[in-house]
């Protein structure tokens, strides 16, 4: 399993995203290195199809696929938790589900 965390330093959520990702991988018994990719400019954001920070991809697939037409740019990503709140991080259960479905 390949696990990537794409991040931009204009958004303070990436350390928490990395900790959460590592915690859930550990809890699920998945031994995978998290590859960290820093996005530094708009050109790289477009090239990497980066919808915002943080973006987590497992085997190349975004765990919360962005909407069609969403721009690729240096921005903080808006997630929704399962109870409907706005959040700078994906819901931990969405992350867990994505890891489980790939690990199965």
């Amino acid at each position: 399993m390949t696990v990537e965390l794409l991040w931009w330093d204009g958004c303070p959520s990436h350390p928490e995203a990395l900790a959460e990702l590592r915690r859930i991988l550990r809890e699920e018994g998945v031994e995978a290195e998290v590859s960290r990719v820093q996005i530094e400019d708009d050109e790289q954001a477009r090239r990497e199809r980066f919808p915002g920070s943080p973006t987590i991809r497992i085997d190349g697939e975004d765990i919360v696929p962005p909407g069609e037409g969403d721009p690729f740019s240096l921005t903080c990503r808006v997630y929704r938790t399962r109870d409907g709140r706005f959040s700078p991080l994906p819901d931990p259960e969405d992350l867990r589900e994505a890891i489980r479905s790939r690990a199965a």
Binding site: P12, S73, R85, F86
Partner: protein, 169 residues
Amino acid sequence: MSLGIGDEAPAFTLPDTAGEEHSLEGPAVVVFTCNHCPYALAWHDRIADATRDYPSVRFLAVNPNDAERYPADSLDAMRERVESEDWPMPYLRDESQEVARAFGAKTTPDVFVIGADGRLRYRGAPDPDHRDPSLNASWLREALDSVLAGEDVARPETDPVGCSVKWRQ
């Protein structure tokens, strides 16, 4: 350079989403905020609730972000949001970014509480955790309670947490 606690807040007049102009008069809360930042969105309802709970305080939400690079923060997008949501405070556009610079705003959100004397009494985050709605903008409310009681604010500064203000390049 940031405004310090006890400093006189810079005077300003900015237009809201309907074109009406608003000026700073204490006691007031100036919140630099925006449409595209998850931290600003996560804290928005708590700040809106505080606006309703402190009717004697003027709340001003100010969006200073560069809308060319971040179209979600354009005046049109701000207007759409105000029209589709229940906003209890004016949402002001700081097109030149001069007000954000004068205050030394760093993030969205970044909260400034101004006393009746026009001086800064609190600056920072609304409360300790964007993830926990039950915190109910507690740091902001503590500051307002002190200001309205004529007392010193016990916790006058906290670190603002959120997306960086998107300055023009």
